[in-house]
């Protein structure tokens, strides 16, 4: 036995070391993702046997008006979330002065990032509460009445996205702060000699050096926007009348509340395809950037 172990140790050790992680990850994460695609081709309530219906769920989905509402909301999330990288950069620039006390202020700006999204959702629900919330208070100081944003179909998604932007901006700010630390002194010095200042300096000398960071910031922001679930669930439960639903929430609702697991899996698969297109774009960009760099 020991001899056998000695002879095969060179490959047995690494295999044994990586096995727990690989098995757990493949079984729980990867296999589940594939299984969902399979389930999406069935009618299933989670208890009775699955019934094969081919593309039936997808046909139903593409005829479902709620699907287009969710899709439109996902698009609103995506577009509005693109504010996070520039605003994050702005705050990062703001706190990049070396003055006493600035470090503490800087870390206070980070706080929204570590809050649980449920907490952020509750905080903003309170801010938006008609008559009593912070928003109502602000409107009242100007002699106006705040609209009940969370129960108004026209405002609700925007209100939820603004809440979700709060931690996302903080995230982008952290990324840009790291990027600003690694700027090339020489290039900036040269720029100063050439008379570049303020906006011009930022646009032509600083931003080109931050391309990599910007790329990462946009990537995490896109993934964050497509993943949005917690805020919708906590702040509106998709309401009023489904007007603030996104794909992730619609999927959850169809599966958990209506026991339509096949239909839910189909929605998840559509979300997955959207994400996959994005990941493919992201990876090709990354590989191309790598080749250019190397």
């Amino acid at each position: 036995m020991t001899k056998l172990w000695r002879r095969h140790r060179w490959w047995l050790t690494p295999t044994l070391l990586i096995l727990p992680a690989a098995v757990l990850f493949s079984v729980v994460i990867l296999a589940s993702a594939v299984e969902s695609l399979w389930i999406s081709l069935h009618e299933w309530d989670g208890f009775s046997p699955m019934v094969w219906i081919g593309l039936g769920n997808y046909r139903e989905l593409f005829a479902d008006p709620q699907f287009y509402v969710s899709l439109k909301n996902n698009l609103i999330w995506l577009v509005m979330f693109m504010l996070a990288p520039p605003l994050g950069l702005a705050i990062a620039l703001l706190v990049s002065q070396k003055i006493r006390g600035m470090r503490l202020l800087k870390s206070l700006f980070f706080i929204p990032l570590v809050l649980a999204s449920v907490a952020v959702g509750v905080v903003f629900t309170w801010v938006y509460t008609p008559e009593f919330g912070l928003l109502a208070l602000i409107f009242r100081t100007f002699g106006a009445t705040a609209p009940a944003v969370l129960s108004d179909e026209n405002f609700v998604t925007f209100a939820v996205v603004i809440a979700a932007l709060w931690p996302q901006i903080a995230f982008c700010m952290v990324l840009y702060l790291a990027g600003l630390n690694n700027l090339s002194e020489d290039l900036i010095g040269a720029g100063r000699v050439d008379g570049a200042r303020g906006w011009n300096m930022l646009r032509h000398i600083v931003l080109p050096q931050l391309t990599q960071v910007t790329f990462i910031a946009i990537a995490v922001t896109v993934v964050g926007a497509l993943r949005s679930f917690d805020m919708v669930s906590v702040m509106t439960s998709g309401g009023p009348f489904g007007s603030s639903e996104v794909l992730a929430y619609q999927m959850f609702e169809q599966s958990i509340f209506s026991y339509r697991f096949g239909y839910g899996a189909a929605i998840a698969s559509v979300l997955f395809v959207i994400m996959a297109v994005f990941i493919a774009w992201y990876l090709t960009r990354m590989i191309r950037a790598d080749e250019r760099g190397g």
Partner: protein
């Protein structure tokens, strides 16, 4: 340096700048201040509609006592700890082992395995929801803390392995040659050479994982229903339904949920930032 530093001699300019930043910070954190202030209000004031005026009496102690005695919040809090701590430890162990292999061994499929770990992280959680829930039902683990622990370990291992692999790959190769020359087995190398050197990375990873797992809400509502196993995030969402307009209590509950990650962050700020910037690929 960009932006151009304000010179040390321009004292007034520097002071004004700090005032400006503090002003912006107050606006930035206004929603948080609103919830903190509300958590100090007495129930009489909240019910009477006095939410922003000077309080007739303070409810700070009452509110937080109520959160812990009249609701299952203490239980939720304990559940969250019971779920989060073993999950973090589990991920740290699995990802160090896997990261070590991916960083130090060349074998066919190395890149593929690595790509799967990374790619799995970008998956929308909903694509795993139904099979994972079903798996836990079949294993008789549905509505237990073990279900959440197993899921969190599995999912976070993807990101953590990427993190540890990059860190271990950056260690100097001579170290490993020396260890081999001394006759150390790979396992000994891992324990006596790698682990002491990657301690900062492990610290950074641990605090990130703590935050991610503590803050999880989606899997908490998918895999648990009973109060005895629910973590604080799902618990808070429940309490909101029960206390509809008792905003002073809801606010206090929110602060309780938010506190542990914020405290961790301030205690280990440097590690947190390094971790986040290094692991930003995660999303």
């Amino acid at each position: 340096m960009f932006p151009r530093p304000i010179p040390e001699t321009a004292i007034w300019q520097r002071r004004l700048y700090v005032v400006l930043v503090v002003g912006i910070l107050i606006v930035w954190l206004a929603p948080l201040f609103a919830i903190i202030l509300t958590s100090f209000r007495s129930t009489q004031d909240v019910m009477g509609g006095n939410l922003w005026g000077w309080p007739t009496q303070f409810g700070l102690v009452d509110n937080y006592t109520a959160v812990f005695t009249q609701t299952p919040m203490a239980r939720y809090f304990l559940n969250s700890l019971t779920i989060t701590i073993p999950s973090v430890i589990g991920v740290l162990i699995l990802s160090t082992l896997a990261g070590f292999v991916l960083a130090r061994y060349r074998f066919r499929g190395n890149m593929l395995v690595f790509a799967l770990f990374v790619g799995g992280n970008f998956l929308p959680h909903q694509i795993m929801m139904i099979p994972v829930r079903d798996l836990m039902v079949r294993l008789n683990l549905y509505d237990t803390m073990s279900a959440l622990i197993i899921f969190h370990i599995a999912f976070q291992t993807g990101f953590a392995t990427l993190f540890m692999r990059n860190f271990i790959a950056a260690l100097p190769g001579e170290l490993f040659q020396a260890a081999r020359a001394e006759g150390a087995t790979p396992f000994q190398t891992l324990v006596h050479v790698v682990v002491p050197l990657v301690r900062p990375a492990l610290a950074a990873l641990a605090i990130l994982l703590f935050t991610f797992i503590w803050n999880d809400y989606f899997w908490a509502v998918v895999l648990t229903i009973s109060d005895t196993v629910k973590p604080v995030t799902a618990g808070l969402a429940n309490l909101r339904g029960e206390w509809i307009s008792a905003w002073n209590l809801i606010s206090a509950g929110t602060i309780v949920v938010a506190l542990p990650p914020v405290a961790m962050f301030f205690l280990m700020q440097k590690h947190f930032i390094t971790g986040l910037t290094m692991g930003a690929v995660k999303g």
